[in-house]
Each structure stands twice: as C-alpha cells, then as structure tokens.
C-alpha cells in the first residue's frame, strides 16, 4: 500500500511539474512583448487564410485582411516596417508549401494591411523586398527580376538564375541573394549569389529550403533535414540551422523529433528567432499551418522533447525556453511600430 501511495504521489508530482508554467517562458514572453510586431498567415473564423498581426508575445492579435473571398499567405514586412507584401489566392486554393511563391497575385499593402494593391495572378513570383523597400525582387524561368514597387516595371536587366528555383531573398545590405537551387546535380541546395556579378557559392547541400538572412547579411537561416536520421522511418525531421553565407560554420538552432521546423525568420536585431513547428512535413501549409514559436538566439542550439537521436548528435544543447504562440504559417517580424494601431 505504501508503495502504491508513493507511486501515486510521484506521478502526481510529475504531472504538476509538467503542467506548471515555465518561468523561463514567461520571462521570454515579457522580454519580447514590446519588441515590434509579428505577422503571419492563419486560418480565420471565415474559413479562409487571412493575415494576422500581433505583438511577439501573442497579444493584440488582430486579423488585418479578413477577406472571406480570398486566401492570403506569406506576408513579409518591408525592411523599414512600413509595408507588407504577400500572396493573395482565389478562395479555396490549397496553399502549396513549395509552390506558394508562384501562386496567386502579389499584394503590396501598408503594414497594417490597409490600402492593398494587387497585381495580376501569377505575376511577380517569389517576390521579396529590396533593402530600401522601393523595389521587389522576383524569380521566374527567365531569371531574377527587380521591379519597381509602385509601377511593377523592371528596373534592371534580368539576371540568370543559375538553377535557383524558389525562395529567393535579398540580403539586408543588398549585396547578395539567397535561394534554393539545383547545383552540381544536387537539388534542394541553398546558395548565395552576388547580386551585382551573379557569382554563386553553395551554402548547404542536401534537403535544405526556406533560407533567409540574418540582419548582418553574413549568415543565412534555413530549414534542413540532414541525412542519416533513423527516426520517422528513416525520413527524419526537418531542423532549423544557421550557416555562413560563404558556406561553412553550420550550426543547429532548433530541432525536435516528431516535428518539422520551417519558416525561420530572425528578429531585426538578430536576438531572437521565429519559426513554425508541425508534425507534418511542409509545415502544414496545406492545412492550418504549424505552431508559431519564438526562441532566443542566445539559447541556441535548443532541442525540445525527448529527441534521443538528435541529442546524441548535439550534446551541447542549451534547451532554452520556447514561446509557443498560435497556429499559423510563414511568420515575419518587424521592430517598427507602424504595424500596430
């Protein structure tokens, strides 16, 4: 009987501990609360994908598109935080986690979603901001295009894309592009291209995608599903990594067996990382997205959950606190106040 009571007390205590709020997460939440705004796509009450703006702690959340006749996705703040660009798709269109940059129309709006101006369907694929926000950079079969934000006319000669096929982003200093490419017979290779000369180098090969820049324009954040994983029937799980733009210095930021990590975006000061986690590969874009999370960069690498295999590979994990916000897809962050009320 004593043994039974002891087991009961132990189990109860464990349960209470597991359910207890993590003071470290609360501290992180307080720390990021006033640091600008985040924007992301999510399913809304009207059943379609809309864009939502909130404080990084999840407060002050509001639907800034609220269009029951369209699906909206993949928002990105301009570098000064005054505008947003995103894709608008016909109602009922399934967002494709790999093809979304080709889908629908490019919309440019104020950062609070007001005054949206939509282009033609299919035009300006994979649009992203130039450093000054006056232009957008696009990618299609012909190459890399730089368009004026207002007129959407080409402002420079088309550059050869050299095998880059999706997710093209200009570095904050304007010197580089990063993207996903076929290089050396290998697909899903993240590359860096000199925006002036077209010279290209490999950043990381084998099953990588969704690259984006750190604010220093020197490092790239990306999702990677490394080879050799035994978990998930050998398919493995996608993790968040940082790599030097010149290649090398590959560093795990976050991993969690049982979840695929995508949509990595670094805060404007480089102190935090925003991402989404989903048990489904592709970050759940085809359904309702993943869980949007925030982690301190100083707490990387962090491995969550049991993750036995991953912990063996990365014993120096810091297991930092992770702030779980809400369900969504492709989050982005600005420290500008222009996104708010």
């Amino acid at each position: 009987m004593k043994r039974l009571i002891a087991i009961f007390l132990f189990v109860s205590a464990s349960h209470v501990a597991a359910a207890a709020p993590d003071a470290r997460v609360d501290a992180l939440k307080t720390e990021v609360a006033a640091r600008g705004w985040i924007v992301y796509g999510a399913r809304s009450d009207n059943g379609t994908w809309d864009l939502f703006l909130s404080r990084p702690d999840g407060s002050a959340r509001r639907n800034i598109t609220n269009t029951p006749d369209f699906e909206e996705a993949a928002p990105r703040f301009s570098p000064d935080g005054s505008r947003l660009l995103f894709r608008r798709l016909e109602k009922g269109t399934t967002i494709d986690h790999d093809r979304w940059g080709f889908q629908g129309a490019l919309v440019i709006a104020n950062a609070d979603g007001s005054n949206p101006v939509a282009g033609e369907d299919g035009a300006a694929p994979w649009a992203s901001w130039s450093p000054d926000g006056k232009q957008v950079v696009c990618l299609d079969k012909q190459g890399i295009h730089v368009l004026d934000r207002e007129t959407r006319k080409e402002v420079r000669d088309v550059m050869k894309r050299q095998g880059i096929y999706q997710q093209l982003f200009c570095s904050p200093d304007g010197r580089w592009f990063c993207g996903v490419a076929n290089v050396g017979g290998e697909s899903w290779t993240v590359v860096r291209m000199n925006a002036a000369t077209g010279e290209m180098n490999t950043v990381r090969t084998f099953q990588n995608c969704t690259p984006d820049w750190f604010p220093d324009s020197e490092r790239i954040i990306l999702s990677s599903r490394p080879a050799g994983q035994q978990v998930n029937d050998g398919y493995g799980y996608t993790q968040l990594w940082a790599v030097d733009g010149a290649g090398g210095n590959d560093r795990l930021l976050y991993g969690e067996e049982g979840y695929h990590i995508y949509g990595g975006a670094v805060s404007p000061d480089g102190a935090y990382v925003l991402f989404s986690r989903s048990p489904q590969d592709g970050s759940g874009a085809e359904n309702a997205g993943g869980e949007i999370c925030i982690l301190r960069m100083a707490d990387t690498p962090t491995i969550a959950g049991e993750s036995t295999e991953l912990r063996k590979l990365h014993p120096a994990t810091k297991d930092g606190p992770v702030l779980f916000l809400t369900q969504g897809w492709e989050p982005h962050w600005t420290y500008a106040e222009s996104g708010g009320e």
Binding site: D96, H97, D98, F102, D140, K141, Y165, N182, G185, E186
Partner: protein, 159 residues
C-alpha cells in the same frame, strides 16, 4: 435491303474496323500522335538504358529525375547524338496523370519507367530553363550537356 447489299455493308464495317485497329496499333507501335509530334523542339524514339539511383517516393515534393537514353530515331531537331539525357517530371507517376499546377504541359502514354523500354518523346532543352524545381542529375559529374526536358513521353516499339 437485299442479302448482297447486307453482305457489302457488313464487309465495309469489318474493313473499317480493321483499318481503325491497324491505325491504332500503328500509333501504339510508333508512339506517334499529335502531342509528341508538335510539342518541344526535339522529337526522338529512344531506348531507356539507365535510371541512375532510386526514384524518390515523396508525394509532397515535385522533382525531375535525369535518365539515360540510346537514340534510335530522330524525328525532329537534327543531330542529337547517340546518347541523350532526359529529365522526367515526377517519374513515379503515369505520364497521363503527371501534369499539375507546377507543370501543366507534360504528358504521354508511358505508365512507368523501366530500363529497356522504348519511348517516343517530345523534348525541350536545356532542362534548367524549362523546369523550376528540384532536378536529380546523377550524370552531373560527367559533364553531360544538354540535359533534355521531357514534355511528352509515349510508349513505342523498337523501330
């Protein structure tokens, strides 16, 4: 209608069926039909001699896999050489079901890719300018060029 006329009608019907069947069979044998003879800039009948590596079975990811062919007949496009390298889109899918939102213009009658089979193909090149997606090219280190993009791929018999 008298019996002679009936016999004549029956005979014409049978002849028509025979002509139709021969015509169909001929198409099947040569792979010739409207798509393969008009799409792309190159048209060949070729034997599939190698599928390097494994074809990836990941329905969430679209890709092209480059395969090696021995050219048997060139129908259009001039001298393409004896051996060509062709990238097929999502090769685990039958060609008549492979077109999708990413690549709407591909098709054909081939159900699956097997070494030794003969295909009549409408091709475009280079593949990098035709397809925006992952390309698995195990021949890259051999420096093969161009790599063709299969627009239409029909099953055919050896000429």
């Amino acid at each position: 209608m008298n019996s002679g006329a009936q016999r004549l009608m029956r005979g014409m019907a049978v002849f028509g069926c025979v002509v139709a069947c021969v015509s169909c069979g001929g198409g099947t044998q040569t792979g010739e039909e409207a798509h393969v003879t008009t799409l792309g800039t190159v048209e060949v009948t070729a034997e599939l001699v190698e599928i390097p590596g494994e074809l990836i079975d990941r329905p969430m990811y679209d890709y092209a896999h480059v395969m090696k062919y021995r050219v048997l007949t060139v129908h259009r496009g001039g001298d393409v050489g004896d051996v060509i390298y062709v990238g097929h889109y999502n090769p685990l899918k039958p060609r008549d079901a492979v077109a999708d939102a990413r690549v709407p213009e591909v098709g054909g009658t081939v159900k699956s890719f097997r070494v030794g089979d003969v295909h009549r193909m409408a091709l475009e090149f280079p593949i990098d300018e035709c397809f925006m997606g992952g390309i698995i090219n195990k021949y890259h280190e051999e420096g093969v060029s161009p790599v063709y993009w299969a627009v239409w791929t029909n099953r055919a018999r050896r000429p």
